[in-house]
């Protein structure tokens, strides 16, 4: 048939295209656990993610964060921002069907003014969690979804850091007074205006969480944002550097007035996260986390 040649060409093209398929039978690339040794010359990866107890994909994101934490150790920090619709307590938020009739279910409220400040800066953040920022390496009004986190984290932790960072908290358990000193030494020349924001996070709270098909009343919430200690209610933080750095010189910031840890927070499960960021681009230059 005279048309056979055309059909043959199409068939060959189809066979060629069908070879463009990668079948995966063992999806996991890494063995979870172990943690990496922190290299002081490298950047720390910081994930700031929006989450909520009625966000059905957020438990999976929490597992991703746990996995990243176990792989990258001290080179990885997470802050979980509970804000807006999916973090509202029930009531007024509609109770998930899987908890119908259970008194007090989903009554937890982990929202805080600093979380609202995050959302005001990245309005798309709380709209469809889980999504967030990795060292804020994105345009100012964009956040990224959880599938893109691991690749960016891996990329960041392999980059050389512009500065070292040290966070030295002091906590008086009797008075619950908290102060800190944060400082660093420039390891590369850097030009820009930098602020340091020190966030208070808390882990280990047990509460309700849904994944859409079931409800877990014993879900453990980790890295929950509580407050920005040096500028409460705002993620702005405090200026620490402006201009062009000289390698080997030091920058530092000390909290001028002690912060009183609210009694509702369990100090033994609280952490401070120092975020050094460029006020123009918002990019996080370096970060560090310490327990209280």
């Amino acid at each position: 048939m005279k048309n056979a040649k055309y059909i043959s060409v199409a068939a060959v093209a189809a066979v060629f295209l069908f070879s463009m398929c990668d079948y995966v039978t063992a999806p996991r690339d890494v063995v979870i656990g172990g943690g990496g040794n922190f290299d002081t010359t490298k950047r720390v990866a910081l994930i700031e993610e929006w989450t909520g107890h009625t966000c059905i994909a957020c438990p999976a994101a929490a597992r991703d964060i746990h996995t990243l934490d176990s792989i990258y150790g001290e080179s990885f920090i997470a802050i979980s921002i509970h804000d807006d619709y999916f973090a509202e307590p029930c009531p007024p938020h509609p109770l998930p069907n899987c908890a119908t009739g259970v008194p007090g279910a989903f009554a937890e409220d982990f929202r805080c003014p600093t979380g609202a400040s995050y959302s005001a800066t990245w309005p798309s953040g709380p709209s469809s969690p889980p999504q967030g920022l990795v060292n804020r390496l994105h345009p100012s009004d964009q956040v990224i979804t959880r599938g893109a986190w691991p690749g960016l984290v891996d990329s960041v932790v392999n980059e050389l850091a512009a500065t070292s960072i040290h966070l030295e908290p002091t906590y008086n358990s009797a008075t619950r007074a908290l102060t800190f000193n944060v400082w660093g030494v420039w390891m590369q020349a850097y030009t820009g205006d930098l602020n340091v924001a020190v966030m208070l996070t808390e882990s280990g709270m047990v509460g309700w969480q849904t994944d859409g098909t079931s409800c877990d009343s014993q879900f453990v919430f980790e890295h929950v944002l509580r407050e920005c200690v040096n500028t409460p209610g705002s993620i702005t933080g405090s200026p620490v550097f402006s201009g062009t750095s000289t390698i080997g010189t030091r920058w530092s910031y000390t909290l001028p007035t002690a912060y009183t840890l609210p009694v509702a927070f369990d100090a033994s499960h609280c952490h401070l996260v120092a975020i050094l960021y460029n006020t123009t681009t918002q990019e996080v230059i370096q970060a560090w986390e310490e327990d209280l």
């Binding site: 048309n3 055309y6 059909i7 199409a10 093209a13 189809a14 295209l17 069908f18 463009m20 398929c21 990668d22 079948y23 995966v24 039978t25 063992a26 999806p27 996991r28 690339d29 890494v30 009625t54 059905i56 994909a57 999976a60 597992r63 991703d64 996995t67 990243l68 792989i71 999916f86 029930c90 938020h93 509609p94 109770l95 998930p96 069907n97 309005p123 798309s124 469809s128 999504q131 009004d141 964009q142 990224i144 979804t145 959880r146 599938g147 893109a148 691991p150 690749g151 984290v153 891996d154 990329s155 849904t210 859409g212 098909t213």
Partner: protein, 547 residues
């Protein structure tokens, strides 16, 4: 058409016409174009949840210029979002020319470089299209080839990257589609055959680099489908089945289960009677050129909603959005025209349309295999999961006299807000809606249209009533006023009137419409693709023109 224009917010509407014009110096070349500018001034209104807009006023706009000269065609589209209007993706920012192409068609071989729109079969594997009302545009930027040298045989190929706002998606899309019209291919041997047989198949592969250190992501993901169309004088049967290999994405929660899709339809049409039935099953068949994309971004395929596309406000209050992760749905529609002079037909005849559609989730079992094969779940092929959507309605169109005609629509609808909108804790929302759309020709120059609607609902925002009056004066001018009243809201302070007024002037292919009022928040869908429209209060302006 005017009904639609007045019902849809002015800022989202536009008519595009085409008027050819010959430009001196271009030989036989012609330039066509069309433009649209929409703008809105936003008043903050805490009562309806309309936020303050820092810019006060926002504007979207575009202009298409298409040059044709014989076998050659080229075009560009300029777009501006200064800043993007509320409800559209915020990634639309600034100005640019995101769409440009050149096409040459020479003796059965058509080659396009630049941006292109196209679809393979019904689009379940590949469809590049735009809908400006949705803010949706997944044009493919690359090359497109179409071969039609042999009668009865059509082969298409595409290769490129999809548009994502003013950038490109990270994935590369490659695809080929072939279609054989057996009757045309076999020529005289099929002359006596009244049945036309059309067979088709396609393959599309997406390449996206794997940068995930946790999971082994397939960099090349292939999807394909086969289709058959049998056409008789009154009957049209169509079926398409698609398959997609492991494709872990944000949308399917990064599972490695292959996807399938099946779409079948049958239509029968004879004088005064039309019957359509269609069904589809989708199982993990979302397909994007960016595995980490969300929303309406970087979508390669198109999965239509098998539901009636309502144009009336309250009937369309709860539209269905296709669920690419899994659904089983079907639709049937019967249209019948009672003849003139019969008891039900009366003097002018009566048209009746019955429509029924239903969508369910899949009947599936979770495998809890995240740490091993990560297939996610198993599907019971013939089982039905939770109800997602159901709509049963009847529509009657009747002309009562030379100066008076009307449409009556009523239906019952069920809506699973948790699934369709991704919410939590809502019961299935049931509504009963009724519409009276009456058109009175007052005299040779004036026509009055009234649209009275009611939607009864216990759940969610409760019941609504709506009234619209639209006066068309001559051929160039209309004014309209509308009120939507959420009188059944459980919260008394939210029983709000959403009043809106519009006026429009049009001449030739130009149109200017201004409006003022409140717009309620809601879901706006076209063919199962949806976006959220926030509440707003303020002035609107829309200008369109074409040449």
């Amino acid at each position: 058409m005017k009904k639609i224009l007045i019902l849809i917010p002015v800022a989202l509407t536009g008519i595009v016409g085409a008027l050819q014009a010959q430009i001196p110096g271009l030989g036989n070349g012609q330039i066509h174009g069309n433009f649209q500018i929409d703008a809105q001034y936003y008043n903050p209104d805490s009562a309806i949840g309309a936020p303050a807009v820092p810019e006060k006023a926002l504007s979207n706009g575009f202009g298409n210029l298409i040059y044709t000269n014989g076998k050659f065609m080229a075009g560009i589209r300029y777009e501006h979002y200064l800043n993007v209007m509320q409800g559209f993706p915020v990634e639309y920012k600034g100005t640019g020319i995101p769409y440009r192409f050149a096409t040459y068609n020479n003796d059965g071989l058509e080659i396009t470089v630049g941006s292109s729109y196209d679809q393979f079969g019904s689009g379940i594997v590949y469809r590049a299209f735009e809908d400006r009302g949705l803010g949706y545009d997944n044009a493919l930027d690359g090359a497109r080839v179409r071969f039609t040298k042999v009668k009865g045989l059509a082969i298409k190929g595409v290769w490129g990257k999809q548009r994502t706002f003013f950038t490109s998606s990270p994935g590369i899309v490659r695809g080929i589609d072939g279609e054989i019209n057996l009757n045309e291919l076999l020529g005289h041997k099929m002359d006596s055959c009244k049945t036309t047989f059309i067979l088709g198949g396609n393959f599309v592969s997406r390449y996206q680099i794997d940068q995930n250190p946790l999971l082994d992501m397939p960099q090349n993901v292939g999807a394909w489908s086969a289709r058959m169309n049998i056409i008789r004088p009154k009957l049209n049967l169509f079926g398409e089945w698609g398959y997609k290999i492991n494709d872990p994405t944000l949308g399917n929660n990064y599972i490695y289960k292959p996807g399938t899709a099946l779409f079948v339809s049958a239509t029968y049409a004879t004088k005064g009677l039309g019957i359509m039935v269609a069904a589809k099953q989708i199982d993990n068949f979302g397909f994007r050129s960016d595995r980490d994309a969300a929303g309406n971004t970087a979508i390669i395929n198109y999965l239509p909603a098998l539901t009636k596309q309502h144009t009336y406000q309250l009937a369309a209050y709860y539209p269905y959005a296709t669920q690419p992760n899994g659904e089983i749905s079907w639709q049937a529609e019967i249209g019948y025209k009672f003849k003139k002079g019969t008891a039900l037909g009366g003097k002018y005849g009566t048209s009746l349309t019955l429509n029924y559609s239903q969508a369910h989730g899949l009947d599936s079992t979770e495998l809890h295999d995240e740490a091993t094969t990560a297939l996610g779940y198993e599907t019971n092929l013939f089982g039905l999961g939770a109800l997602y959507f159901q709509d049963v309605n009847i529509e009657v169109f009747k002309k009562f006299s030379p100066n008076f005609k009307g449409t009556f629509l009523t239906g019952v609808l069920q809506y699973n807000k948790n699934v369709i909108e991704g919410k939590i804790g809502y019961p299935i929302i049931m509504t009963h809606y009724i519409v009276f759309d009456l058109i009175f020709k007052l005299n040779d120059k004036m026509t009055l249209r009234t649209d009275l609607e009611h939607m009864y609902a216990k759940e969610d925002f409760g019941s609504w009533g709506m009234g619209l009056a639209e006066l068309t004066i001559g051929e160039h001018f209309f004014v309209a006023a509308m009120d939507q009243y959420n009188y059944g809201n459980k919260h008394e302070d939210l029983r709000i009137h959403y009043m809106n007024a519009q006026a429009g002037y049009y001449w030739g292919t130009n149109r200017i419409v201004v409006g003022y009022g409140k717009q309620r928040a809601g879901i706006f869908c076209v063919g199962g693709v949806c976006r959220f429209v926030p509440a707003s209060n303020g002035f609107t302006l829309s200008i369109t023109s074409s040449f």
